[in-house]
């Protein structure tokens, strides 16, 4: 036994996590794919089996693409799909506009300040995501802090409707995901050769020219990595549109959740999941590619 273990420990080290992921990560996808190709029925489980044994030894494979046809034909799903892409794209740009100067400022600050600022950016990540979204409910509500403040100052008479609007969803996404933009940008800027900027200035380039011809191209890998880290999870977001968007903001993650829990239509929910995955598979592969290249470079 001891000898066997000595010889085979490498296989054991590999086998345990490999088997875990095969069973709990890969297999579930094939089940989702399978159910997305079934028909919804009122039974338990609420979908038709893919393989039926009709007579002795005659196998009947039933595959229906109705669920995907349904998603394609129903205007609601197309709208939700496009709306999710729109909301997460705009949020990504807003995160970049806020995160880029912050990452830049952190990199250029002195040693101690840099550590304090980095910690301040990371700290919210360790606290509950749900409670941070809840904090905005208190700020944006009709009777919330912002409205109370504006009315007290006398800028407005009637409360502004902010909670349960797309505006609140943008705020929520930017608030939760801006650290995911700052950190890759910081990691990228930290390794840059800043003397190039001085060289550009010495050669007479205006600060704006330097920024667009030197800084921006050099930090592009950080911009792409940060944008993907915001765009991918934001597209599938459920909590933020549900708590801050109310009934007015439909996003794909929310439709999936409702289709499954409220309508109990498993085949359609599975088809929505596959559709969401198809939308995100390119950005996800791009991100993995960048990460792999970075690891190689190190």
């Amino acid at each position: 036994m001891g000898y066997l273990f000595q010889r085979n420990w490498r296989s054991i080290v590999l086998f345990v996590p490999f088997f875990w992921l095969l069973l709990f990560f890969l297999a579930p996808f094939f089940i989702v794919l399978k159910i997305s190709l079934a028909e919804s029925v009122i039974a338990s489980p609420p979908f038709t089996p893919m393989i039926e044994w009709v007579d002795e030894g005659i196998m009947h494979i039933r595959v229906v693409v109705d669920n995907f046809a349904y998603l394609w034909e129903d205007d609601l799903y197309a709208k939700v799909y496009l709306n999710s892409i729109k909301i997460s794209s705009i949020s990504t740009i807003l995160c970049l506009l806020l995160g880029y100067p912050m990452a830049y400022a952190i990199v250029r600050s002195s040693h101690t300040t840099k550590h304090i600022l980095l910690m301040l950016v990371i700290l919210p990540f360790w606290t509950s995501f749900l409670l941070r979204v809840y904090a905005w409910m208190g700020l944006l509500a009709d009777q919330g802090t912002i409205n109370n403040l504006l009315i007290a100052i006398g800028i407005i008479d009637e409360p502004l409707r902010m909670l349960y609007t797309p505006f609140a969803v943008y705020i929520g996404i930017v608030y939760t995901y801006v650290p995911f933009m700052i950190l890759p940008l910081y990691a990228n800027m930290e390794k840059l050769d800043w003397t190039l900027l001085e060289a550009a200035a010495d050669l007479g380039a205006k600060p704006m020219t330097t920024f667009f011809t030197v800084t921006l191209p050099m930090t592009l890998p950080g911009i792409v990595a940060g944008s993907l880290l915001v765009f991918i999870p934001a597209t599938g977001e459920f909590v933020i549109p549900d708590l801050l968007g109310g009934g007015n903001v439909l996003m794909i993650g929310r439709i999936l959740y409702n289709e499954f829990n409220a309508n109990i239509d498993w085949p359609v929910a599975s088809a929505v999941a596959i559709a969401l995955l198809l939308l995100l598979v390119l950005p996800m592969m791009l991100y993995q590619h960048i990460q792999a290249k970075q690891t190689e470079a190190e």
């Binding site: 989702v32 749900l130 409670l131 904090a135 009777q143 969401l276």
Partner: protein, 279 residues
Amino acid sequence: MNNGKQSRFLFTMTCFGLAFLYVPMILLIFYSFNKSRIVPVWGGFSTKWYGVLFESKAVGEAIVLSLKVATVNATFAMILGTLAGLALVRFGRFKGRTLFTGMISAPLVMPEVITGLSLLLLFITLNEFIGWPSSRGFTTITIAHITFSMAYVAVIIQSRLTGMAQDLEEAAQDLGAKPFRVLVDITLPLLAPGMLAGWLLAFTLSLDDLIIASFVSGPGAVTLPMLIYSRIRLGLRPDINALATIIILVVAIGVLVAAWIMFRQQKQRELELKMSEET
């Protein structure tokens, strides 16, 4: 834009960004001491909502379940993630490496609704064929959490292993230690700080998860985020502000203590280095 203007712009943006991150949380804490039932309307100082919170049996049960799930999850995720990281960095090419790399990094970017739905469907299918898991709750939530947490641990371990000098391991090998001995006596102790960081990250990720737990949980098993979500869906609640205050303070103190310990260790190392240079 001259240099002064540029640094003023950067300073303003950083202050704005940090205010954006912290003001909502500070207000959340502030209003937890509000006497009034209507959260954002100040009605005088009171700690009564903390009393309401501590009397609630459901809150206590949810906290216990969440801590149990988080602890078991962090431990398993640390072990599996460390094994996966070791395999990826030190085993070179092996059969199925591409598939393994894909599977270990995909959970990092996978939307939670998809992970949650697919795991629930797996548990239902398994139950149909082998009769396990017969009910959903602690076990299924923990398995689901381990599956995504181990990916984060693997990333930490991978980056530590690639940055670690291999000379100690090579020296042990040259002195005749078998590969397994090298792993246990040299590599794992060197990896310990990374494993601890991975454990803490897995613990936090588990405590924070709402969506995956909601999918794979069954009747009767309610984690803390599930409880919070079911209450705040219908609007603002002062007892949730009190709960949020406690959570934020515990986390903030934990992170500050950890940062202080790391800072001191670094100072100590720098001091030792200086002293060794002087002698």
